[in-house]
């Protein structure tokens, strides 16, 4: 399925989903990027995984972006069977960044979400074990946020 077809099928089912940059027609071989509100992420991903037209069976990456006034969670999906890719960007509140976890759909999303939580403090609601994954258990703050300033400890 090419990008334009993918986009029209997604927006047909979820009208709140918008194309992130209007380039699907131009960039035929590039990854389609769409933006979606945080509330629609779980139903959208459920549809993308379970509908055999989309068949996104693999989550390549879930990451965070700090845009200073807001945070962003970015999902990269891939279909091993149909060989198409999709990027979903969702904007989150900078003070209370919360989005539904998709780890119930893809097992691989588990650690990606833990990493995004560890680095950006994005809370994935419904995650089975949302704890720090890379930094130490007693680490304070979210180190990849722009306003992060670490306090010197006895190792500095």
């Amino acid at each position: 399925m090419d990008n334009l077809e993918l986009l029209s099928k997604i927006t047909g089912k979820f009208p709140e989903v918008k194309e992130f940059l209007p380039a699907a027609g131009v960039l035929k071989d590039e990854m389609l990027a769409v933006s979606a509100p945080a509330g629609v992420i779980l139903p959208l991903c459920t549809e993308l995984k379970n509908n055999k037209d989309f068949d996104f069976d693999y989550v390549m990456c879930i990451s965070g972006v700090d845009l200073k006034d807001k945070l962003q969670a970015v999902y990269h999906l891939y279909s091993l069977k149909r060989k198409h890719k999709l990027e979903i960007k969702t904007e989150l509140d900078a003070v209370k960044p919360e989005v539904d976890s998709v780890s119930s759909l893809w097992q691989g999303a588990d650690w990606h979400e833990r990493e995004a939580y560890d680095m950006f403090g994005i809370v994935f609601k419904g995650h089975p074990n949302l704890t720090r994954i890379l930094t130490a258990e007693d680490f304070e703050g979210y180190p990849l946020r722009k306003d992060y300033e670490g306090k010197p400890d006895n190792y500095d």
């Binding site: 890379l134 930094t135 130490a136 680490f139 180190p143 992060y148 670490g150 400890d153 006895n154 190792y155 500095d156």
Partner: protein
Amino acid sequence: MGIILDKAPYLIEKLPGGGLVITSMDWVINWSRKSSLWPLSFGLACCAIEWMADVGARNDFDRFGVFPRPTPRQADLIFISGTLTKKMAPRLKRLYDQMAEPKYVIAMGSCANTGGPFYDSYSVVKGVDKVIPVDVYIAGCPPRPENVLLSILKLQEKIMKESILKK
């Protein structure tokens, strides 16, 4: 062995000719210690890959008695080969504590010496000497095998200067 090394030197020193006995004992003990420096097979980052090549067949550190051991109970020496993160630091301290005396530490590469290119990171210890005492520092990123070899020779020199009377 511990009681003999702790008590006997101070008794022997008072006897006529005891000083000569002490220096002879020093030499034998130091020689045996420096000739069988068994390092712990322990690695942290890319320096560990370099270190594995160093103790391999081409450079053959075994000719100096450097022979990796898989447990800290049997190791005299620990190479800190790589970046020490703050999460790893308590684990390294624990490994060091599990090693039997006498024990020596060689900090291998820039990361182990000072934190290296990760000095400004939120997660990297700025030099392994913040956690455990270091005997020899090796510069390099990673150090050349010759440089690692030199660190062992330097450590052997240092061991030969030790005396059972000190401490």
